[in-house]
Symmetry: C2
Subunit: 356 residues, 2 copies
């Protein structure tokens, strides 16, 4: 198969982990006889430094022209400490999502059995958890009008959803549920928000098209609690942009670490595959970052954008074998992990490559 992949490492550890993710894709191409070509482009803080823009036009053009994007992370403490900064790395990420129409963000939360002990949650609560989040990614309070009034003394952000936007993400979630446990939980705050009431009405309507699927509606506060109390009761979850952002970060603790979690952003054209973790400037440049989220994002890319199931499974299995062999990065090590089995970014990447 011939495919053109754009690698967009972005900021911080995005650079380090995406380099390993790319190596894994190259190894797959070699082993399975595919012809993948690669290009690279800038986004986020590194793009601002180089061009003044967090998403240069050239990057967007390359994204549209590629078959899939392997993405890193964006963000920099400089902007976090300065709430008045006008140009910000995250604007690049949000603009990319909007421009490419990436309305569905899939975040699978799957716990490798080998990491049962690495979580702060009890193993007997976690065992067997397997959740697939559908986070809406191009609407909500992320993309509504925002600004200041009263001489800058009042700030506002507008959350907005149309029926059409809710319908299309709901259908994706129900379609996925049909191939899994046939259970969908829709999360909103319909007891307070009008956008959530439209959300709930619309999900109720879409649900009628899927009589075999059991639907449950939960308020976001309650869902945040239940995720920790009983993660096994979750199968497919569908929710708005902001709630999805919060709940999936929280759910990362079910998988032991954010460093394990991959995501796929799909929609109208090119799909983007990225770790759910951020740029993590506290560990940047130290070679400590866990590359597995990027590697597993590459696996999602092969599966979803290219339809290469066996190749995708070869990656997941290599990660599993590496964990079975006892290798860990710092974030997933626990008290029982021997010191010499805790590896850095590149070293654990090599172990995984060996097992493909």
């Amino acid at each position: 198969m011939k495919k053109h992949i754009l690698v967009v490492p972005g900021d911080g550890i995005g650079q380090e982990v995406t380099a390993v993710g790319k190596k894994v894709v190259e190894k797959i191409a070699e082993k399975f006889g595919h012809e993948f070509t690669y290009d690279e482009a800038l986004i986020g803080h590194v793009a601002i430094e180089a061009t003044g823009s967090p998403l240069p036009e050239e990057t967007l053009v390359k994204m549209r022209a590629s078959d899939a994007v392997l993405f890193g992370a964006v963000g920099h403490p400089k902007y976090d400490n300065d709430p008045t900064a006008k140009v910000r790395p995250e604007q690049g990420l949000l603009k990319m999502r909007k421009e490419l129409g990436l309305y569905a963000n899939l975040r699978p939360i799957k716990l490798f059995d080998e990491l049962l002990g690495a979580s702060s949650i009890k193993p007997e609560i976690l065992k067997g958890s397997d959740i697939l989040f559908f986070r809406e990614l191009t609407g909500d309070i992320y993309f509504g009008e925002k600004g200041r009034k009263n001489d800058g003394d009042t700030a506002y952000d507008i959350a907005e959803y149309s029926r059409y936007e809710v319908e299309r993400i709901a259908r994706k979630a129900f379609d996925a549920a049909m191939t899994r446990g046939k259970k969908v939980m829709s999360v909103d705050k319909a007891n307070v928000l009008e956008t959530s009431r439209l959300w709930r009405e619309t999900v109720q309507k879409v649900a009628k098209e899927y009589p075999e699927v059991t639907v449950e509606h939960q308020f976001v506060d309650s869902a945040a609690m239940l995720l920790i109390k009983n993660p096994r009761q979750f199968d497919v979850v569908v929710t708005a942009n902001l709630f999805g952002d919060i709940l999936t970060d929280e759910a990362s603790q079910i998988a032991g670490s954010m460093g394990m979690l991959a995501s796929a952003s799909i929609g109208d054209s090119t799909g983007v595959y990225e770790p759910i973790h951020g740029s993590a400037h506290d560990i940047t440049g130290k070679g400590l970052a866990n590359p597995m989220a990027s590697i597993l994002s590459a696996a999602l890319m092969l599966d979803i954008s290219f339809g290469l199931k066996a190749e995708s499974e070869a990656i997941i299995s290599a990660v599993e074998q590496t964990l079975k062999a006892g290798f860990r990065t710092g974030d997933i090590a626990d008290a029982s992990t021997p010191k010499d089995m805790i590896l850095g970014t590149d070293a654990i990447g090599e172990e995984i490559l060996k097992r493909i």
Copy 2:
């Protein structure tokens, strides 16, 4: 001391647990020689059924005339399943918060040692956790304009914050931090929301008045993750209305169960004291609800609104002794709890009353 207390049980298990909370207050009055008088008023679904309004004018008048309000819960599945209902129980709760100027919602998350095993989080992660949330309660997306456009096909909610609103809640949090571990974590989403950028700017400014307090800013997604990963790193947390709603429900798992968590809503006039749990119609009328959140809310009332520290501590100690004696409600029982030590709402209430 003479005080007039308004009891507002509201909906579902609100009725059952508030009855026990009131009994505890009566016992305290008797033991410590206070003259407390009581009245009762309607809110929520029961108020809609009786008067058509979720917050009858009479209730509001009585609230303003009382020294404190002991509150239950509001909500009913009828409205949850019908997103188009125009009159809703929660409107009563929100209107009460706004009318009484209850801008600061204090939610202490404290784990009784006896319940270390009841949580889904590992005991060694939990041990010693002690968090005090300050949730802003009269602003944000809860109270901005909301509605529909495009023939009802688009819904919107406006989030809004003024500097003044952020300043006053931030001061409350920093003041509390000075009496505790001198650490404040401010939670926002300043990488995306303008309201959060104003929030962060303002908290940074207030922080300058408290040079002894260590301040940390976290994005809400990251905070949701850290709460589970390492709850001990939290001391005082200050955050916006919506984020506070989500994070405190999540944090209930640190205390073993929502059924243990009390809250105080304070501001310009009468304080309102209520469990953080909801009306829980699935267990309503079965006598199964844990009344401890209501009892501990009564303890907060005595402490914060009446300045009765010893009385407040007598309640907390009675709860602790009851747990030490091995009594549990269903929500905080675990596999090792003998069946005959699992009590219903009234029976565990009696055990607590005995120990005051």
